[in-house]
Amino acid sequence: MTTDEPYRWLDAIANRREYIRDQLKGATPVFAFSRPEGILLFGVGSGQSKVFEIYDRLALAALGHPVDIEKIRQTVIEAAHLEGFTRAAEDVTIRRLLNFSLGPALKAGFEQIFSAPLMVECVFAEVGATPADDVLARVNFDGSYRFQAHGVAVGHTNPADETAAVEWLRAQLAGALTTPQLVRLALAAWRALTADKAFVPPDAATVASPSLAIEDRVIEAAWLERRGDMRLRYRPLTAAELS
């Protein structure tokens, strides 16, 4: 087959999309919440990390194949540091990285139908001076991306469940919440999304449950702190801070 056979190319792309979605089914969701004190990123890993520092004010939460997550991570880190070194840290933004670096690279990789696809879904976060300045971006494996309004981003393999989880989380995040409360909220949404059925909003008792234990998995969470006097904003949460 050659790529100048349009119908077969369309078939190949459709098959590729279906294949990637099928491969991603076992991956578990990641979350980012914009809050007055910063942006909280949350994931649940099983030996591999899911939440990463990218640059001074930028972080990534991703799900998918660990090797592909690593490729994306390294690509964005290199682009961010070259940009920051050539110009200034203030010039390194999620919008520019997605528009000019990661977005085109992911799309080109997805359309290279003779090479192995990148199986990864991402949430990028950039902390601003105020919550209104925060940027949350949801990036798909095919290079498409959208910026999330209202301070919540969820990365999940099922678009319908992801949308339902985002709407539920927005409502839950309306008031003031402590870090342990935010972690429990994210964990409750994580459990609902990983149950083998459509997303059902967790009840209050589940959200309030003090248990953070998940068999063979580890909770990962980090703040992108909003404090203006610090250059480095990324701070992973300790076990004590989670509970």
């Binding site: 690593e70 690509t75 920051g84």
Partner: protein, 251 residues
């Protein structure tokens, strides 16, 4: 996308370089920076003055620069090159930590600074780009802070108790040596407040004998640039905090 964690190697791949020695830079030399151990860690301090010959170029220069949460540099020598070195190290340390998911070792950080100084050899030999910095870093394994000083060719030496660089550092090193021998308390047993006050007094002393060292004037609220490094990382001591310490002892 090689991901080897070496930002210095990444720069030439993208036609970027850290070299700045084109022979046209204005030589700005003379300064005073120093570091010593106090009870809870290391204190690194410096004045704010940059000079070119007998001209005061600026009295608002920052010479104590945080490289990451566990290391900092005090620059002395040609500011254009020294600041660029600090920026390169800052990016290299951050890049390594983020790409490798672990902090760079203290030894590797010290070698990175040595390498930059060695690469600057042509400018040093031409006499306009000499840099002789101090470096303070925390060993991630022991969380113990150490002080190092460098010669302009890149050789590193540990300042076991203190180190100084710049035209005004001679008198400061003399006073620190005296206090380490006969002081009560010795600097390494001082509290943070005592150490901050000592740092400001040392700069006042250096300014008395060296015109290229900007002084400290507590009455006007002019204090040194002071950062501390201990197990909790790097922390700036703001002028307001220094003023409070100064008031406590009523010197």
């Amino acid at each position: 996308m090689n991901g080897d964690g070496d930002f210095l190697s990444l720069l030439p791949q993208t036609a970027l370089t850290t070299a700045r020695g084109d022979g046209k830079a204005v030589a700005l030399e003379a300064t005073t920076v120093f570091a010593f151990h106090y009870a809870d860690g290391v204190i690194v301090a410096g004045d704010h003055r940059a000079t070119a010959g007998n001209v005061v170029f600026s009295d608002r220069t920052e010479k104590i620069l945080e490289l990451d949460r566990h290391s900092l540099i005090a620059i002395a020598g040609s500011p254009a090159i020294a600041v660029e070195m600090a920026r390169t190290l800052q990016t290299a340390f951050d890049f390594y930590r983020r790409s490798q998911l672990q902090p760079m070792s203290l030894q590797a950080k010290m070698r990175a600074l040595s390498r930059l100084l060695h690469d600057n050899l042509p400018a040093t030999l031409q006499g306009f780009g000499t840099v002789a910095p101090l470096f303070a870093g925390l060993d991630p394994a022991t969380m113990r802070p150490s002080i190092y000083f460098y010669d302009p060719l890149g050789a590193q030496f540990e300042g076991v108790k203190h180190a100084g660089s710049g035209s005004g550092s001679g008198s400061i090193k003399s006073v620190l040596h005296f206090l380490e021998q006969w002081g009560s308390p010795t600097p390494e047993k001082m509290t943070l407040g005592e150490a901050v006050n000592l740092a400001n007094r040392l700069l006042m002393t250096a300014a008395e004998f060296d015109t290229a060292t900007g002084g400290v004037d507590p009455l006007r609220g002019d204090f040194a640039t002071i950062k501390v490094l201990n197990g909790a990382g790097v922390r700036s001591i703001t002028p307001a905090a220094q003023a409070a310490f100064w008031q406590e002892v009523k010197p």
